[in-house]
Subunit: 296 residues, 3 copies
Amino acid sequence: MISALELDRARIDKLFSLSDKFKRGAVKPLDRSSSVALAFFEPSTRTFSSFEMAAMKLGLSVTSMRSDKDSSMAKGETFADTVRMLSGYADLIVIRSRFDGSARFASEVSGKAIINAGDGQNEHPTQALIDMYTIKEHFGKADNLTYAIVADLRHSRTTNSLLYMLNNFRPKAVHIISPPQLKPLEQVTSRLKYECEWSDSLAGVPGDVDVLYVNRLQKERFQDEMEYNSVKGSYYIDIRVAERMPDDSIILDPLPRVDELDRAIDGTDKAKYFVQAANGVPIRQAIMYNLLSERQ
Amino acid sequence: MISALELDRARIDKLFSLSDKFKRGAVKPLDRSSSVALAFFEPSTRTFSSFEMAAMKLGLSVTSMRSDKDSSMAKGETFADTVRMLSGYADLIVIRSRFDGSARFASEVSGKAIINAGDGQNEHPTQALIDMYTIKEHFGKADNLTYAIVADLRHSRTTNSLLYMLNNFRPKAVHIISPPQLKPLEQVTSRLKYECEWSDSLAGVPGDVDVLYVNRLQKERFQDEMEYNSVKGSYYIDIRVAERMPDDSIILDPLPRVDELDRAIDGTDKAKYFVQAANGVPIRQAIMYNLLSERQ
Amino acid sequence: MISALELDRARIDKLFSLSDKFKRGAVKPLDRSSSVALAFFEPSTRTFSSFEMAAMKLGLSVTSMRSDKDSSMAKGETFADTVRMLSGYADLIVIRSRFDGSARFASEVSGKAIINAGDGQNEHPTQALIDMYTIKEHFGKADNLTYAIVADLRHSRTTNSLLYMLNNFRPKAVHIISPPQLKPLEQVTSRLKYECEWSDSLAGVPGDVDVLYVNRLQKERFQDEMEYNSVKGSYYIDIRVAERMPDDSIILDPLPRVDELDRAIDGTDKAKYFVQAANGVPIRQAIMYNLLSERQ
């Protein structure tokens, strides 16, 4: 589970159906002889906690490191050696890293299954599965919907994986709303099987939008705080934006949110971002269960 | 489980009886589908470890964060959003925070059961349950006893919860021994159903004391180190204080101890502070088990 | 499990045979009422992770602290009080500390079983068990072999415990290769039941070596970086050193490796250091299982 590009529809459907079963409590836990190492070299709350909880609910034996400081890399060990070591301890390794390509590199030096839990600005495929699963739960389908993605798409592993994932779902339309300097990279868009329409303002959210996907702009991506502050306001989703959206449409945000989303939206039916967060546990149960079953 | 003020005698007796059962190994573990998030935003050893151990012994699925740094609050996420996220992952959330009222606030934004594991200078109700349970184990009862509490009662969540807890146990007498500036707040004493007698010296420990409850004075509460050093000595419990106490009386300390308690006391029958610490596990098993059962 | 000096051959054979069984999955997990506290007051990856994984696979209830910062020692609590507290929570305490003798001291204040997971520059007995177990797996025996140990033996708890462990295995020969200032201490060699031959260069690795045991030189042990750099090169194990070794011989390294071992060796049959690392889990399962069984 390195890249959303490698997932096909059959695999995705299988994972969604497994996730449904985990939500209903309809899967027997594995036994303690199956094991996972959570190797988080970059801080994380949501991804770490939901993987940890998912592993515990699966009944797995778990060991974890939560930052560079927990690892021997502080003593000068290479990443490859750390991965090889963990491969001796666990059947499955979940890797989070600030470096693009870490998960792929880990899969090359390890004989064990690797899950990419976010590598630099590259990909975050398990998040994209959570996103699509939440969409499918709500609409009863994930095909043929209209998306608007309001985000820094240039530096976001989350939206990269989401865009790749959509290759499997024939979207009706995908609208990208971002400042010009934060459009997705050509190396990303060139891999998409559908067209994206870009706009630099919220006016680009179409009237028939089904899914409004929002992600925070990160201050550190801008030249100075003034530029950030001026841009930030233009992409702020306030309650009026939400009210203009169709009745059955939804708003997603991979969270944490900072300044991008009006808290007044929380109480509305359109707010699905906490449901989306909660889906992290069953989807990650499904992913780990599926990989461990394949290996047996 | 937000405040000791909300616990009535029936609930307390129920928890004590459950704790007895856990000590005897007479309760079947829950299954891994029940889950808890340990959300510690302030460092803690004893409280964290005993909650973690209790959760593991209960057979729960556990995820934990041990400091602000483990959480997305470092990225600017609000406390409310963090709690909502954890509410999607776990059936039960244990919260430790440096801010008064955090646990109550969490209970307002979460649909899940919240346990206050210490919030600022406000309350620490599970510690007070451990204290009373240890007392009841020793005396066979917790009613009608004479207490002397030697501590900084102005800034201590531990003694606040203990004082509230005593509302349920008709104490024979409660003596408070502290420097004048460290007496309990009026907002605390006004909620007590019994009288407290205050004294500013250890001479105020009555001859018939049953329970001497000691807590360290915290250096940072004093204007300067000189004032701290002069005061500290006057409240030091040395072996002679212990020897003057009645035969069957006991000394408690929520620990960690620093300068408040003579190590020579450790070997005596009166020293119950390590027994008290060990009771953290079964009491916290009882609390979590009880809350999870209520929810089912 | 405080010192390798206290292990006799019967105990070692018992642990090896248990470890074999754990590798085959032929031991039933213990139940959650058995518990362990992992008290790591010094950073560790390998030792921590393999103990955590071993404890999880055994089915134990686990609580852990990973650094001084997780403990109340930051608030001024003594090490003895911390150990007494943990003794109230767990049946077994695994201690890692930067201070020589911590594990022995802990065993004096605790009524529970203590495992030394590395104390300062003193000992690391569970690592030595892993080392010998890996040797025995490879050769089918651990007696009557020729060893060459290339390391800083003056400051290494790992090699101290290995040298003590070899007392039980009648080695054919033990060659020590180190700069003169990094020879083992007299207090260590005086306890050995066999002779060691010292050499200050890799030329001292004998032609019939069976086990080449390598450990990194630590920069901070040298007067300045220049001295370190000049010495380092002389003890570097490159692929040619490995090629000169007998066909069936092996190379071990407790890891992490930094500058001591040519990565070109990794692909050869002689490289057993990742197998050695992986053996950390079953050996530590065996050690904990054995101690918990004895106590019951």
